[in-house]
Symmetry: C2
Subunit: 138 residues, 2 copies
């Protein structure tokens, strides 16, 4: 049994984007919109190593994701936990995020780490440890 | 001329909810879904004084708001700035947020500060100082 309840997992399945929350070097909150994929209690985000969100995660080791639905009353779920930037063996996880971006039935063929590194592509991974607040989900 | 460009202002008008970002006492990012209203460069959120988001703002003096649209390619805007918790002369601003929640044509009659205080209702206000990242807005 994972940390993420089934109703939240189903909700995440239907909503491919969310607000990523990190803490900047000056201690202030930083947010940006990201596509994400979920595997078990891991949230996967594909970004570039030079991005401030990636640097925040490397420096602080923590991130949160806030997802909401599109219609009133706007169901939502916030997930948070330890986070890291991965650069090795990330092809398959990166492909899962690409699938969420394109909405394709299957993920694309995974790229090799070397090909992803050549374009500074990294994987931001959150190990979800906290779920909540959750609103308007059955 | 304010900090918030016209295209972002129009986008916010059509999207009444966003992820509020604050920093928790332990230095970790906190997010939750909120309804908001905008007046000039001020973002108005109605909450309760006992909520962790309100305590974060009182302690840190800063907040951000990340708003996204409902359809691909998911336009978004993130706004941030100094923030405070107000308890005086908040009736009219609180009514503007209620209007966003209900979707009514007009805001309801403002309540007196005493009536709002009786139910711990406070106004979380962000003075937007930074706009960005902004994605997929003309």
């Amino acid at each position: 049994m994972g940390v993420i309840p089934d109703n939240v997992a189903g909700f995440l399945e239907g909503n491919p984007i969310g607000s990523l929350g990190t803490v900047a070097r000056d201690g202030r909150p930083r947010q940006s919109i990201v596509y994400f994929a979920r595997v078990g209690d891991r949230i996967l985000i594909s970004t570039e190593g030079k991005r401030l969100k990636a640097r925040d995660v490397e420096r602080t080791g923590w991130a949160s994701l806030c997802v909401h639905g599109r219609e009133r009353p706007f169901p939502s779920a916030t997930l948070a936990g330890p986070a890291r930037i991965r650069t090795r063996e990330i092809g398959a996880d990166n492909a899962l995020v690409i699938q969420r971006i394109t909405g394709a039935d299957e993920p694309p063929e995974p790229l090799a780490d070397e090909a992803l590194a050549a374009v500074d592509r990294v994987l931001l991974e959150i190990d979800v440890e906290r779920v909540g607040p959750v609103t308007y989900l059955d």
